[in-house]
Amino acid sequence: MKTGNALFEYLLRLGDNCLILSQRLSEWCGHGPVLEEDIALTNVALDLLGQARFWLSYAGEIEGAGRDEDQLAFLREAGEFRNALLLEQPNGHYGETTARQFYFDAWHYLALKELRHSSDARVAEIAEKALKEVSYHLQRSADWVIRLGDGTEESHRRMQSSLDDLWMYTGELFEMDSIDEQMLRQGIGIDLAVLRLSWLEHVEKTLAQATLQLPAGNWMRRGGKQGVHTEKLGFLLAEMQFLQRAYPGAQW
């Protein structure tokens, strides 16, 4: 594949991860379990939204077809989104949100650490800035995994089942397809498979501290990078894209 096309796809993956997760987190605004958490979680949503905007804007430039961050965010169909399936899963209760966040933050942190060294200057720059924010995200979500895991019997039960339920979406994060391989060969992208061990190590350590079990199970659901999503994404996009679809071409 031409480098431009492959890079475009690669950037969409990074940007869509952040965009979809940010959208989910922003659903909590005004509904959090406590005021301080409402504010903290919104900060994470804002960080991720900012990162999404950087990735998607760059993607639009690389594509060279005149699409900006908004056209990419609001006018693509579900089949054109490249986020990992984990991120489009619904918020559920706070344990489910925490599990989704923790699994992702641990991956995101490791991925950005490597992307900082990308041979593409812009990728490296975005990753460097994002890493500062994501380091904090990871501390936060780990804190909550521990408090919910080692809190009350009820919180322990809820946290464990949340981790169990979302486990099948974690495999996809470490799979390399032909685009990943091409980006890696060119020094632009990273080796996702190699991240898996560090990720497992970090997750296991946190879960142990939280008195939780690492979920078992080898079957992984996949397809996000290829645009084959779960049924959840359609509803999310219908809500997110509504105004732009209802008023085509309008400026806001």
Binding site: C29, L46, R147, F242
Partner: protein, 313 residues
């Protein structure tokens, strides 16, 4: 042995512009009025997150989404600063919130109206935050230290809130015919409730006079309302929007805008709990509170375990 300052001494301090701090002697009525006023203000911020939060997931551009997220987050922060101020008066946040959820506490009536279109978000920023700012800036000089300091912090943050609302409407006013009529429709629905935000007419306002003597209210409701209309009316002209009041007219002799009669029946009805969204708002807050109970308990349990030490596990 502690010397007690009597009411006259207390009033002298207020008149001299001296701030009252948490441990100072104060008349019980002063304390009770402050608790009521500050907690109502705090509840307004928290409940106010809901009508605007409604449109975060549907914001029409990523930039607007980020701005709205930051704004609603600020409201949560404002609620937090104000709850902190109430706590200095000997009422815990838990107690204050329990009163809200039990329907015993009031919050600003404006948040009982629904946000039906994106233009409503513009209206809230422009009109509702505009009205709030007119009220809040003088409060930075109020007599109770923690409240004044919270207001200073809030006012610094509030500046961008009104501007982003106006900016949304400016874009709509320069947009398509559908967008222009969206904006006009929103103004038709939000104008009169925004005027009511400043509270009942002075003649009917029970607490106002004493609150003004105690310097926890610096301008009367009617004064604030008049100031608001004078500021907003020219801005509406700029936006090409028509304020839904046939009696709104600049009065050169008075140097202010004249405006029409407010339907106070509607105001009192909403205040009593019969506005469009009162029940919804309360139910949403109760639900968030109840659903979050296990989370709060877990964090408290964990903290307790750590404090008790490893041998107690």
């Amino acid at each position: 042995m502690h010397a007690e300052v009597d009411e006259r001494g207390f009033q002298e301090r207020l008149d001299a512009g001296i701030k009252i701090e948490p441990k100072d002697w104060m008349p019980e009525a002063y304390r009770a009025t402050l608790v009521r006023q500050i907690s109502q203000h705090a509840h307004s911020e928290i409940v106010g997150q809901l009508p605007e939060g409604n449109w975060i997931t549907r914001a029409p551009t990523l930039k607007r989404k980020a701005i709205l997220l930051a704004k609603v987050q600020d409201e949560a922060g404002h609620g937090l600063y104000l709850y902190s101020a109430v706590e200095t008066l000997g009422v815990t946040r838990n107690q204050t919130i329990e009163d809200l959820l039990a329907g015993k506490a009031k919050y600003s009536s404006i948040f009982n109206y629904p946000t039906l279109t994106w233009a409503d978000i513009g209206m809230i920023g422009w009109l509702v935050d505009g009205a709030a700012i007119v009220n809040q800036i003088p409060l930075c000089r109020c007599s109770y230290g923690p409240y004044a300091r919270a207001m200073v912090r809030i006012c610094k943050e509030e500046n961008f809130h009104q501007r982003q609302g106006f900016d949304i409407l400016l874009k709509l006013s320069r947009g398509t015919a559908a967008q222009k009529s969206m904006a006009q429709d929103a103004l038709d629905r939000w104008w009169w409730p925004s005027l009511m935000m400043h509270g009942p007419p002075d003649a009917e306002s029970k607490h106002s006079l004493q609150s003004m003597r105690w310097k926890i209210k610096l301008f009367s409701n009617d004064e604030l309302r008049r100031k608001f209309v004078d500021q907003i009316a020219p801005q509406a002209v700029y936006l090409g929007l028509e304020i839904p009041d046939p009696d709104l007219k600049w009065n050169a002799a008075r140097g202010h805008y004249d405006f029409g009669k407010i339907d106070w029946d509607e105001f009192y009805s909403v205040v009593k709990g019969n506005g469009p969204c009162n029940r919804d708002r309360l139910r949403t807050r109760i639900e968030a509170h109840e659903k979050g109970a296990w989370v709060r308990e877990a964090a408290a349990a964990y903290a307790e375990k750590k404090r008790a030490g490893p041998e107690a596990a």
